[in-house]
Symmetry: C2
Subunit: 239 residues, 2 copies
Amino acid sequence: MNTKDSAEQHSQWKMQVFERFMQILKAPYGDFQAIWNLANAINDEAGFRRTVELLSAHPLAKNAIQNRLLLGAIDLQQLHALPQETLGYAYSDHLLRNGLTPIQSQIVEDEYDYLIVHLTEVHDIWHVVINADISMAGETKLQAFVAAQLRASRFSFAMLAKNLLKTTVEDLDLAEQLMDALTEGWRIGKQAQPLFGVQWNTLWDIPLIDLQAKWNVLPSTISESIAESLSNKCVAASS
Amino acid sequence: MNTKDSAEQHSQWKMQVFERFMQILKAPYGDFQAIWNLANAINDEAGFRRTVELLSAHPLAKNAIQNRLLLGAIDLQQLHALPQETLGYAYSDHLLRNGLTPIQSQIVEDEYDYLIVHLTEVHDIWHVVINADISMAGETKLQAFVAAQLRASRFSFAMLAKNLLKTTVEDLDLAEQLMDALTEGWRIGKQAQPLFGVQWNTLWDIPLIDLQAKWNVLPSTISESIAESLSNKCVAASS
């Protein structure tokens, strides 16, 4: 992370961020080195502190950050044997269908490490919870959701700007769809309960729809009738 | 405008757009030369044709484009004498309060000229109609509204990406507000009737609220309220 002790350093930092942004624009979609380079440049101390401060206002996130809680090892085949309506099945099915594997737990030496590692290990779970596929639009929906949940992540905002500009220039026909995904992800991320620090490994056998209703991550396209039936279901569960 | 007859030209065009984007990032906010340079680079023939095609699907816009209808001269003092609830008063008051003047009608030689001139002359009217102030967030709300109404304007999408990245880097505390404005402008622009080609100079004495209702640009919180009530029930159910 950069520190910004003076106007001069701030100006240098800003120019470096813009240069890294330029590199990621020119790189092929999904160039992780370019993404990593941008993240290292833009994730400054001030922005990181602000993010931790905002997250820590929520007991769940505060506890996770203080105790650096991680999900640990995940057995995809075991989760895939759970009933189809469960989070565990939906998550494992998403990974298996897309040829993905769970992120291996990494060494966490400080709060910054923890923030990155936790967000990385829940990335695919959040994909499933907010119904975001792995297309450019789906990744943008998730990135907007993450931005709304973290509220002060320069990296998340910059990635949204990158996806929007890159799609606008390289594939104009997808730009409207990308904007729809961006606005939907932001809306859901703002209305949803804070998901940072949720210990998903204790929730694998819960029906996904119940978790989506509990955390309030409902698609805006949900019809009133579906909303009503969901609502009745929740009310029934409480009575 | 650029034409893209070959992959080579497309690649050159893309790099020029990214370079102009870089220039606008480094320029002070509101640097019209940098904005103009980006517009000239990014507004390619294909994107422009697609925009005209999409707009022409609406009789109002098609008629305005075919006949190159302009608003003509506007007398701010005369409009400011209208009842306070009228469009004319609201528009003239917006300009007078912000020290702005109506755009003088310009020479229109082709469809591209017409598109730019019409969008320029209605810019401040649209500000009033969608309740967007002239702050960075307000301009972004309007830019997102324009992007949603035009649907294929590379310039509008690029300006949104620019505002988001610039604010993220230069004033992180405003980034969340900017994203709220962007998503609200996009949502209203998608739900609203197409406003391109509306002859506002025939509507000055109509109450603004009636026009907002007629064009469906009133802020709507229906989906949010449904989601909120549902969430409350489900949170209760799970506790």
